[in-house]
Symmetry: D2
Subunit: 345 residues, 4 copies
C-alpha cells in the first residue's frame, strides 16, 4: 500500500484519477490539495464519490503531501515546475499531468508556453511518460511527464510509421477531434453547453501546444533518427464529453503490409489494440478505459494511408496513463486498477 497525494484535484483529470484510484488495491489517497476548496469534503464537491472518499481538500500551505510516496499534479501548466523539486527531495516520486516537463528542447518549450522554465535541471531529468516508447525508463524514473491527450493518440497512430520508412515523414497530417472535457473544468464561453452542443468547429488551427511535444518525442525515436518530421495538426471540438479520434494521413512512399506493421509494433502492449482490417473505431469503445484502439486503412488502394486511433482523453490521455506510469514506477502490474470495461452505451 503506497500513499498517494494529488495536487489540484478539482478538475476533470483530478476526479477521474480519484475514480480510478478507488479501484486500485495498492494505493491509499492520503492528501488532495486545493487552495480555493480547502476544507471542502471531496465527496461534497463530487457527490459521485460519496461513500468512497472521506477526505477533504487541504490547503497546500499545510504541507499535506509530505510522506506521500507519489504525488500526481493534475494542475494547469506552471504549477508542477515550481513544486516538484521540494517533493522529490522529500522522497516522493511525481507524475505530472501538465506540459511542464514534457520536452527536452527548452527553447522551443519556452517559445510555445511563453514563460521561463522554473526548474531547468528537472526539465532535463524528467521522463516522457508514454509507456509504448519509454517503458524501461519510466520504471526507473522519479519524475514522469504524462503526455498530452492529443499527443498520446497521435503518437500511437504514427509510431509504426515514423520508426520505419514507408511513408513521407515530412508531410504527415493529423486531423484531431476531441470531446469537450479536454478543455478542462473551467469556465470559457466556447465550452458552455449552449455554445458547444449541436455544433462542430476547428480550433487552434494556427498551431496547438501539443504540436512541439509530438514532434520532439517522435523525432527522438531511434528508428526516426536523422529524418526530418513534418506534421500538420488541426484539432476540432466535438459535441461529446470524452474521447479523441485522430485521423492520420500519410503519403505512402514504399510498399509494405501496413496492417502487419502495426500489429507487430504493438504486440503485447496491454493498452494498444490494433483492430482487424476494415474496422472503424468509435470513441465510445474506449469510454472510461485506458485503451487506445487503432485501425489502418488504405482508401481505394491509393497512395494515402489513413490511420484511425481512439482513446478516452481523460484516461489514456490523462489519469489512466498516469496510473499506468505509477504502476511501472512502483513495480505493480501494469494494468492494475485500470482494467475497466468501457461504459457502452
Amino acid at each position: 500500500m503506497i500513499k498517494v497525494g494529488i495536487v489540484g484535484g478539482t478538475g476533470y483529470t483530478g476526479v477521474e484519477l480519484l475514480r480510478l484510484l478507488a479501484a486500485h488495491p495498492q494505493v491509499e489517497v492520503t492528501a488532495i490539495t486545493s487552495r480555493s476548496e480547502a476544507g471542502t469534503p471531496v465527496a461534497k464537491m463530487f457527490p459521485s464519490l460519496r461513500g468512497r472518499y472521506d477526505i477533504a481538500f487541504t490547503d497546500p500551505a499545510k504541507s499535506p503531501l509530505s510522506g506521500c510516496d507519489v504525488v500526481f499534479f493534475a494542475t494547469p501548466n506552471g504549477v508542477a515546475m515550481s513544486q516538484a523539486r521540494a517533493l522529490l527531495e522529500g522522497g516522493a516520486r511525481i507524475v505530472d499531468f501538465s506540459a511542464d516537463f514534457r520536452m527536452k528542447d527548452r527553447a522551443t518549450w519556452e517559445k510555445w508556453y511563453k514563460v521561463t522554465h522554473a526548474s531547468p535541471e528537472l526539465f532535463e531529468q524528467a521522463v516522457y511518460g508514454l509507456p509504448e516508447i519509454n517503458r524501461e525508463r519510466i520504471r526507473k524514473a522519479r519524475l514522469v511527464a504524462n503526455p498530452g491527450c492529443y499527443a498520446t493518440a497521435i503518437q500511437l497512430a504514427l509510431l509504426p510509421l515514423v520508426e520505419s520508412e514507408f511513408v513521407d515523414h515530412a508531410h504527415l497530417i493529423a486531423d484531431g477531434k476531441s470531446g469537450v472535457s479536454g478543455a478542462g473544468r473551467k469556465m470559457e464561453l466556447g465550452i458552455m453547453y449552449a455554445e458547444a452542443t449541436d455544433n462542430f468547429k476547428a480550433y487552434a488551427v494556427h498551431g496547438h501546444r501539443h504540436h512541439p511535444e509530438i514532434l520532439e518525442s517522435l523525432q527522438s525515436l531511434e528508428g526516426a533518427s536523422g529524418r526530418k518530421l513534418g506534421l500538420t495538426f488541426v484539432p476540432h471540438l466535438t459535441p461529446m464529453v470524452r474521447g479523441i479520434l485522430a485521423t492520420v494521413y500519410a503519403r505512402i512512399t514504399r510498399e509494405t503490409d501496413f496492417q502487419a506493421l502495426f500489429e507487430k509494433r504493438f504486440k503485447g502492449e496491454p493498452f494498444v489494440d490494433v483492430l482487424p482490417p476494415g474496422s472503424e473505431p468509435e470513441t465510445r469503445w474506449v469510454r472510461g478505459t485506458n485503451h487506445c484502439r487503432i485501425a489502418v486503412h488504405r482508401p481505394m488502394d491509393g497512395d494515402t494511408l489513413v490511420v484511425l486511433a481512439v482513446e478516452d482523453n481523460l484516461v489514456k490521455g490523462a489519469a489512466g496513463q498516469a496510473i499506468q506510469n505509477m504502476n511501472l514506477m512502483f513495480g505493480f502490474p501494469e494494468t492494475q486498477g485500470i482494467d475497466q470495461v468501457a461504459l457502452l452505451p
Copy 2:
C-alpha cells in the same frame, strides 16, 4: 465460481450485464444465446468487450444453458415465461429482466400485457427482486423478477411514504424522466438520434406498463395494507443515454420530519443514499453505478412534499440490480462486482 448463462445478450441490458460481470470475481459467463447472432463473437458485436470475452453467441437450440447455476433473461416480455420452467427443473436459478413475473395479480398483468401467461404457477412463485423490500425472500428464491427501471426509482422514492401515514396515499404523482437507453437497443423512429436529441416530450401519458407493477408492489407492503394507493405517473423521454430522475409529489396530511423518515428507512442499505437536506441530485452522479440517490424537499414550506430520486436505468434499473439479486441468492457479498464509481463527467 458459478456458471452464468445469459439469454438475449444483444441488447443494452445484456451488454451492461457483461460489463459488470467482467468485474465480478465469483462468476464465469459460460453461455450467451442469440438466435440471430449465433456464431458471432461477443467482442465482435461489442468491440468495447475486446480482450474480456472470448465466447460467441450460441443458438439457443443447442441447449447451451444446461449446467448454468444462474440464467439471466435480458429479453423482451414473453421469453422468460416460456423457458423458465425447463431451466428451473434443470437446477438453474433465474433472474428475469422482463415483466413476465413481476406481479401476482394475473388478471391485471394479462390486461396490461395483452397475452395469456404461459406459466401461471411460476407467476405465483416468483419473488419481486427489489432488495430494499424483499431481501430475505430473494435470498431463498429460485426465480427472481427484476423490477422495471422506472418502478425501481419510483418505489424507492415512495417507500417511506407508503409505509407510513403522513401523506395522501390516494393522490401520489410521479413525474418520470428517462434517458433513451431505457427504450432498448431496437429500431424505432422516435429514438433515432435526429428525432430524440435536442428535444423533450412526455410519452405513454395514457398509462405506462410499469404503473400496475408499482402499485401492486407498494400495496403489498406491510405498512401499506388496507389503504388504497392512487398514482398518476407521466414518463418523459430525455435526450441523454442513461439515467432516470423521478420527481415525486405527495400532499402532506400529517407533520413529521421527512428527512429523518427517509434516512431511517434506508439506513444500512448499500445502494440507497439519502442525500443531505437541500440536495438536487443529478443523474450523472450515479452513471454506471448501482446507486439510487434520493433528496427530500418541501418547497416554500408548503403542504406538498417533493422527493427526487436518481438511478442509472441500466444498472440499478436493470443489470446491476440483477447482480445484486444474484449476490443475495448465492450468498455472495451484496455489493460484489457492482461497487463501481460513477463515470463523471
Copy 3:
C-alpha cells in the same frame, strides 16, 4: 418603418431578437448598446448575422437610443428599472425582457428580488405582456413587461383551469423542464457542456423566481377572483438548447369536457395551438417559433388532469413574445415577423 433600439444585445435573447427582427418588414434596428462590446460589429460577435446587420454595439453613454420608437431591454434584472423613465419621457415605448416590471405587488417583488425597486410609479403602470390575457391593454401600453419563459408556458397551460371551477385551485403542480439556453449566455459551472450534457436534474426546488409572477398574474384574472391559488413548481434542467415543456397536474373537482374547455379558450389565438386529443407535444415542434402547443390528458380516466405545454423559451418565452407585444403596441399585424416554421429536425 419604426426605429428599434436594443439594450443588452449580447445575450441569447438579444441575438434571437436580432434574428427575428431581420425578418420584420416594418422595423429598422438603429441602435444596440453594450458597454463591454462598444465598437464591435454585431456580425463579428455573431457571425450568423453576417450580411444582415451592419451596425456595431454602441456605448450607452453616447445616448444612441434617442429617437428610437421602441426600445427592447434584453438585460438582466435591474437595468430597465433604472433607464426606463428617461426613455419613456423621450417618447419611446419599451418592452422589457427582465422581471423589473412584471408584478404589481411591490412587497412580494422586493422580497424575491432582494432589492428596492428603482421606479415604483412605473412598476404600477407597466402592463404584463401576455397577449392571451392582456391583449387590449398591451395595445395601449407604453411600457410592457415581457413574461418569463416558464411563466408563459405554465400560465397558458393553466389559464382555462384557473378561469373556471373544475379543478382544485389550491394544489396545482407544475413540473417544468427547460433547455439550457434559459440560463442565458453567461459562464456558470452548471451550464458548462461537460456538466450539463447527458445529465438531468431539478433546480431551485426551494422556490423559483417565476413563481410569484405566475401566481399574481393568474390570481388577477377576472375568472379567478376570490379564490386562493396554490402552486408547487419544480423546474428541471434538460440537456437541450431551446424549449420548455411544462407538465401540469390538477385534481379534478367537477366534471367537464376539458379538451373543449381549452379549445374554446384559445380559439382564434394566433400562437396557442390546442392539439388533438391524445397528442404528446415535443419541444422541437416549436423550435425557433412563437407557438405554444398544448395537449390535455386525463390518464386512465382518473381524477387528475395532465396538461402538457411546449414553447421555445427564446421565442414565445422571450424575443418572439416581445415582438408580438410590439406588433400590438404599434398596430402591426400580430404575427408579423414571427411566423417562422419550426426547424425540424
Copy 4:
C-alpha cells in the same frame, strides 16, 4: 405563382423543403406524394407544419403531379431516373435530390451505384446543380441534379484551388464531418440516439459515394482541364443534427495570396461567404440557412493549406440549394425564400 410537386416528402430533406417553401412568395405546393402515407395530412406527420399546410400525402398512382410546374424528388437513389421522363414530357421541370443524374460518366456511376441507369439519355442532359459552377446552364435546364451534401461543401472549399495551379492537385485530402441528419429519416442501428450520441467515428473509409461525383465535377471545370485530380475523402459521423464541416488539406506548390484567391473567386456569390483571415467557422453559424462559410488557413506558415467550409447539409446541402436552383430556372431572385438567418444558439 408556380405549382410545386414533391415526390417523397416524408424524409428530412422533404420536410425541410416544406419549411423553406412556406416562406417563398412565388410558389404553391399543390402535391406531395407518398405511397406509405397516402391520405395522411402532412401536418399530422410533421406537427411543426400545423397551420401551414392543409394538404395530405397522395398516392403517386393518382397522378397528383400532373400540372406541376416543377417537381422536386426528395427520394432515395433510383426513383427519379424512372419517373423523370414522363414528368418532363408533361411539361414539368425537375430538381432531383438523389444521385441519379449527378454524373456524366455512366460507367463510373453504374460501378458505384451498382445498377444500370434507367434513363441514359436524361443522364446526359441533366445539369449538375451547383450554381457557383453552373449558374447559366441551370437557368436553362429542365432537369437539375442537386449535388450531394458533402459534395457541395468540399467542392466549394476546393474550387479556387482546382481552377488554379498553386497546390498539388493529385493529393488533396478532405476530412469531412457531418451531422446525423445526413443519413436521412430512416432506421439504422448506427444512427439510433444511444448509438450516435456522445460518440465519434469515421465511416465509409474505403470510399464514399460522393467521391466520384466530386472528382468528375471538379475535373470538368475549365481551369482544371488536363490535370489529374487525386482526392482522399474520409467522412465522419458527428453527434449533432445538422451541419457539415469539411477540413481540406492541400500541399502548396507555388506561392500566392490564398485569402485573396478565395475572395476573388466567390465575389458576388450570394451564398458563399469567405470569412476574414484567422476565422474558425462553426456549423451553427449556418444552421437552417443556405450559406456556406469558408476560412483559409496556412498553419505555422508551412507548405500545407487548410480550408475550412461549413454548411447546413439539409439546406445548402439539399433543400435550400434545390430552391436556389428552382429560382434560377424560373427567373426568380436567386435568394428568394432562402434568406433565413441562422438559428443560434
